[in-house]
Symmetry: C2
Subunit: 358 residues, 2 copies
Amino acid sequence: MKTTALIMAGGRGERFWPRSRKSSPKQFLSLTDSDRTMIQNTVDRIRKLVDIRDIFVATNQEYRSLVREQLPDLPEENILCEPMPKSTAPCIGWGAVTVRKRYGDAMMLVLPSDHLIMQQHLFRSVLKNAMQAAERTDALVTLGIAPSTPDTGYGYIQYDQERDTGLPNTFRVKRFVEKPNLETARQYLASGEYLWNSGMFIWKASAILREIENQLPEHYRCLTAIEAADGTPAAAEAVQKGFREMQAISIDYGVMERAEHVYVIPSSFGWDDVGSWLAVERMNPANDLGNVIKGDVVTVDSTRCIVQGDSRTIAMVGLEDMIIVDTKDALLVCAKDSAGKIKKVLEVLRAVNRTELL
Amino acid sequence: MKTTALIMAGGRGERFWPRSRKSSPKQFLSLTDSDRTMIQNTVDRIRKLVDIRDIFVATNQEYRSLVREQLPDLPEENILCEPMPKSTAPCIGWGAVTVRKRYGDAMMLVLPSDHLIMQQHLFRSVLKNAMQAAERTDALVTLGIAPSTPDTGYGYIQYDQERDTGLPNTFRVKRFVEKPNLETARQYLASGEYLWNSGMFIWKASAILREIENQLPEHYRCLTAIEAADGTPAAAEAVQKGFREMQAISIDYGVMERAEHVYVIPSSFGWDDVGSWLAVERMNPANDLGNVIKGDVVTVDSTRCIVQGDSRTIAMVGLEDMIIVDTKDALLVCAKDSAGKIKKVLEVLRAVNRTELL
């Protein structure tokens, strides 16, 4: 069966301000020493499994030129620009009907464009495993990450380790749960029954469309209208209309939580969702003084800091657990334990109409 | 008797890096909302007592053009450029022989160029008081600041409150003491017998030269050679030779500590020696959130910070007691309690030959 991929690249990446901006969010940046951006790495790591002509990128009009620039080999018609943000179910549905229209049916790898994966080889091996399961069973398959900490920033997947599915390393999902509080996260971790929800899915286009038809019939109606117009002069108008009509709903909440046949593959291929500046510390080696530094930095009595310099020299004196991010027009200085509040800066800038900094 | 002033403006101001640089130290900057720089304010506040033609500025060749630029009314021949740094005694001695050569004798106000004085009127009234004492007694008069905290950053002056000098508000100095440790500083403060050494002196040129002759005879010999050449084509060469020969020694250690007739006037005119970035907090009002901010700054959950912005927007998230100073080519992020370590940054930059940043 043909293998396709749908790469989700519509995010705004606000938590990486000031390096990520509305005009150039996280997936189009490199946050490691790599010259390749996150979306380029995402494509690179599946090139051995999927032909570039069968890779689709879901994004929005604003990022079309960035996608073309960073993925010059990708056929332009494979860039799906959502007219407005409607969360993941409409976007994934559009990808699925596009695949159905073009290929009849095909395997789909649905992948975020802004995650880090350290062990590429292992990752591809897990994907192959997942594709076999999805092909043999018509099920929806998701990758669950073996948790290392009681992280409250992820959704969790409870799975059934007892019942044999007859498929290698593949388990039935009991339920999806939203981001827990710390106490609950600790229980999940201790129980050994939970995995982090990675947001990566593997299924046949026909399988996910069947579930959407069952659970989100209104969405399915809009999606078939988009499918019918695909390749005709009315295509753009149909997408516009379809997205206007579809309600915003996530694939997890709208489909996965209530779907019949959902499998999870417990995985550990060095995954990070790169959810905040703190991820930079996990992704890059610290120096002898415990700082993760990029750029021209002078350190005096400072430790456990994350610094992303730009063109200027940065001097740190007596700092601990700080994040410093410098850019041409904006500078962030943030305590590590306040990394979650960076979006408040954007709220302030929005309120005073400083759009050039967003 | 004619009144002259000698303004000491040779300092490097390293503790205000990165705003102060070797090429433009603290006395040539404004650290408040004032448009006037510190040296301009120093001159402004004595203009009612001293004619600009009788004000001398002691600095070095590197800062000559800054002095001319910032004090355009000052006669160029009143800029005394020390060929090399030799601490304060040689510099003050040079000022004194220059005054003697030009005026025979005159009152001298010796003032640092980089101190803050809040109550100008009171300051001038203290200076008048000091000039009367210096004129009537031929003594060396210094201004002592009534201490408000057991500060270990200042030298102290112990004075004799019992013995009547017959001069208003003027007391005999018992001894000068160097910067004490905290325990000693606390004892000084509790005793009520000590004042901070402000480094401001009032005396007749003849009086300080008499003391230099007695206590630093080799210096006096060099100074008279400089005096003899003053106004002749050999002047520059004589200054060069004299400074090469004179040992570096401070006026406090070399003269004041052992001088015969030294008086102090206890003063409180809102004085600050502006010794580090922490002074910016004392000199400028804090906003409602407890931050002292200059520039385009977005604050989220941050307090008690000192921020000096430049052209870029600065966002602070979750910070307490931090100093952030932004300039075109260098940024400082420093914990307040590490402000004394900023000079270590300069040591590092010097070691790696980054002279453009010094």
